[in-house]
Amino acid sequence: MPEDATPQELAERLNIIEKMIAEGRRHTESWGWTFILWGIAYYVALAWTAWRHSEWAWPATVLIAVVITIVVAYSKNARHPGTTLGRAIGSIWIALGISISLLFLALGFSGRLTDQHVFVAVIAGILGMANGASALILRWKVQFACAAVWWLAIIATSFGSDRVSTISFLAAIFLGQIAFGAYGLIAETKERNRRNPIHG
């Protein structure tokens, strides 16, 4: 047995194992910024549509947001290790990104992006599904609350007036994207500051 194996030392070793295994399994990528970016993108597209009624508003904004997401994600996460959990969560959001991009591009250019209620319900449904699936995999209550916000938006936009639909969409974007993204960024920063170095 090593010489320094006092009960305290052994308990410390057990702590190291538990802490490091948890660290390794943690969803290591930092994704708070993408929620904020996409929240802002939705607001920009909505403002652009309200201002000019251009069919380019959604496709152009979404295309720019996709490019920024790919470039930043690649530079931030290229050095992170692969985990099964990370790949599972990543797959959900990559599939969501492809679905939403195609939806906006196809509906935008075909000129069939006309019924606001259907449009908001479809977007809210897709985002509710992705947030809900991530939350269930990660067992993360805060993200499940985001999914619930999007699910409520489906109901509000389906049964409410134009005004209710707009307000519910704006509120869902704020709560589910911007507030949740900011919460994620703050949590990541706190976690980084909490770490202590491990010496030989």
């Binding site: 047995m1 090593p2 194996a5 009960p7 052994l10 308990a11 410390e12 070793r13 057990l14 190291i16 194992i17 802490k19 490091m20 295994i21 948890a22 660290e23 390794g24 399994r25 290591t28 050095r79 992170h80 290790p81 692969g82 985990t83 099964t84 770490r195 202590n196 170095p197 491990i198 010496h199 030989g200």
Partner: protein, 105 residues
């Protein structure tokens, strides 16, 4: 206390134990990620990873990305086995203390 198990001295080092535990949870990891997670210095981290590599507990893959060297580490089957046995021995040595922790968590 002749029946108490021995702790593997290679695995017992704090940083080496942290590295094996980290690598047990991922498929593979780069040097920079391991450094960020352990907050260790480059020199110390490199030395401890070399010891684990020499013991056959981790495997390293070196390549150049954009002309910069990049080392990727993964735990080997022997490393996983050594970590499992170390945890088993540790639990046996700590005995009642571990049982209390597990009941509390």
């Amino acid at each position: 206390m002749a029946d108490l198990p021995d702790l593997n001295p290679i695995v017992h080092g704090k940083l080496r134990l942290a590295l094996l535990s980290l690598l047990a949870g991922v498929e593979e990891a780069e040097f920079t990620w391991l450094r960020a997670k352990t907050q260790a210095t480059d020199g110390n981290l490199g030395a401890q990873l070399l010891k684990l590599e020499e013991a056959g507990y981790v495997a390293v893959k070196k390549k150049f990305v954009l002309r910069k060297p990049q080392s990727t580490y993964r735990i080997t089957e022997a490393g996983r086995q050594a970590l499992t046995e170390y945890v088993r021995a540790l639990k046996q040595l700590l005995g009642p203390a571990v049982d209390t922790r597990e009941r509390k968590s």
